[in-house]
């Protein structure tokens, strides 16, 4: 018994020490990963929408034609409903369960098309451009897909953002002036205020982890 406890304690002593060095860090270019997502093949940069999805821009003529079609179907189902009901109200031996079953089916078809008409109406009013929320829903699912690829044990850092900026405007390079006259600090200070712009010349600055990244 003592031997077993002893072995267990030894095991835990090693386990604790090893667990502390288990944390690893990695970096990922999140934007590039998103661009590699299969859904990006459907992305249309002109419209800013994803083709073959509910976010796609639809020509207004097509929307109007779908509206007309849905309205026609509603009218047809409505007439069928009236016929069935009229027949059953005028016939004493109508099978009531069957009548209600058929009426329910027709009502559901009408309801589906009325819902479609609401969506199509909004789409027509927006000139065939669906709301932005549709694009955001697709973007959200892409982001979740990409994040699922990250290991749970790593701390994953995103690459640092880099934006275009024009270079700093110096009449003479203050760093050079400083090397000519090291005792004068004002020039170097002026130069240091612009290091965020100067740094943009170097792509490596986007890396969040410079040494020690787990590949």
């Amino acid at each position: 018994m003592c031997k077993k406890i002893f072995h267990l304690l030894t095991f835990f002593a090693f386990l604790v020490s090893s667990s502390l060095s288990a944390q690893s860090f990695s970096a990922a270019d999140f934007e590039r990963l998103l661009n590699k997502h299969p859904m990006m093949k459907n992305y249309d940069p002109e419209s800013g929408r994803f083709k073959n999805t509910p976010s796609q821009v639809v020509p207004v003529e097509s929307v109007r034609s779908q509206i007309a079609s849905a309205q026609q179907e509603i009218a047809v189902f409505g007439r069928q409903r009236e016929e069935i009901l009229s027949r059953s109200l005028n016939s004493e031996d109508a099978d009531e369960n069957q009548v209600w079953k058929e009426l329910t089916r027709l009502n559901e078809e009408i309801f589906k098309r009325k819902r479609l008409l609401l969506d199509l109406g909004e789409l027509e009013a927006a000139n065939g451009v669906p709301p932005v929320s549709r694009v955001l829903a697709i973007a959200r699912s892409m982001i979740l897909d990409v994040r699922e690829e990250f290991s749970d044990s790593d701390v994953v850092l995103n690459t640092l953002p880099r934006f275009f900026a024009p270079p700093p405007v110096f009449i003479r390079n203050p760093l050079r002036e400083f090397f000519f006259q090291p005792e004068s600090a004002a020039g170097l200070v002026r130069y240091l205020r612009e290091t965020h712009r100067i740094g943009l010349l170097f792509p490596v600055l986007a890396k969040p982890i410079l040494v020690g990244e787990r590949k």
Binding site: C2, P167, P182, H196, I198, V204, V211
Partner: protein, 313 residues
């Protein structure tokens, strides 16, 4: 006795594990790589106006430097640039003619022909783009004989980057750092111009409704007293509006680096290592160190007015 031996063994294991726990803790450093890259000795030769390096040896005095640059500007060209650029312009003209002919083919053509022609046009455009790039480089070299050509400039920048990373890895190994994080700021700082007096004074961004935040703080509705919307809604609406980039630029905040706290700052050590490698005078290194320390102190105290502290008295 047996129990005593086992206890001693366990205590030894525990002590070793405890020691290894101390060793297993990660040593983390940070470097403002943007700053270190900016003050790399070779960057003193960079002309930010024309975006090239002066083709001059480092370490010259001011007079020597200016003399060399003037010599470069007045020396005859090493190549017959006029002939080269004329050749390239000729190629561009030929491309334009080809494109015009192809476009003429497209009108009234069938779909398959149209697609083929479109593909051909794309190929020609790509080639033309390349030639225009070469022409632009030639014109640059003609106009800036004292500076490196664009391809050479890119090589030098690449070399600076590689050198920084090599020296950083060596420094991290020597000082036993497991992880070095990048604490550069990679976005342009945009202090709001509109705070200054003058023609731009008073120009802000329309649509940011101050009454939302004002009402929230006052805990009453200043627009519609009868509105029963909860007051916290005003704060939520305000926060949504103020998050837009244009609005953020008006706030008195500068962007902060990824590493806000912690980690050993080895930027100065990396600068010293690079400067020693480039045989920069010790006096210069000390001067750079003291200025970097002042900059760091200002950053930590969120003080943006650096120049007044180092301006000549």
């Amino acid at each position: 006795m047996k129990f005593g031996k086992r206890l001693l063994f366990f205590i030894t294991i525990f002590a070793l594990s405890a020691a290894s726990m101390a060793f297993a803790q990660m040593r983390i450093a940070k470097v403002d790589l943007g700053l270190v890259a900016s003050i790399h000795p070779q960057m003193a030769l960079f002309d930010f106006d024309r975006m090239g390096f002066f083709k001059v040896a480092p370490g010259l005095s001011q007079e020597q430097f200016e003399a060399e640059v003037n010599k470069l500007r007045s020396s005859p060209p090493t190549q017959n640039w006029s002939k080269v650029s004329a050749d390239l312009r000729g190629k561009i003209e030929a491309f334009e003619k080809q494109k015009a002919a192809l476009i003429a083919q497209m009108s009234g053509a069938e779909l398959s022909t149209g697609k083929r022609v479109e593909k051909k046009l794309e190929e020609i455009s790509r080639e033309e783009e390349k030639i225009r790039g070469q022409l632009s480089d030639i014109e640059y070299q003609q106009n800036c004989p004292d500076l490196t050509a664009p391809a050479e400039t890119r090589k030098i920048l690449d070399h600076i980057e590689k050198e920084l990373m090599t020296e950083l890895k060596a420094l991290a190994d020597e000082q036993k750092y497991d992880l070095v994080l990048n604490s550069s700021i990679t976005v342009p700082i945009n202090y709001p111009q509109r705070y200054k007096a003058g023609p731009q004074y008073g120009l802000g961004i329309p649509g940011i409704d101050f009454s939302l935040f004002y009402s929230f703080l006052a805990n009453r509705d200043h627009v519609l007293v009868s509105d029963e919307t909860p007051n916290s809604r005003n704060l939520i609406n305000w926060l949504e509006l103020i998050r837009y980039p244009d609005a953020m630029n008006l706030l008195p905040l500068k962007p902060y680096p990824m590493v806000l706290k912690g980690g050993d700052d080895i930027s100065a050590a990396l600068v010293e290592r690079i400067y020693l490698k480039h045989k920069i005078d010790r006096k210069v290194i000390e001067s750079v160190h003291s200025i970097l320390a002042i900059v760091k102190d200002h950053d930590q105290r969120f003080d943006t007015d650096l120049e007044s502290l180092v301006a000549p008295k």
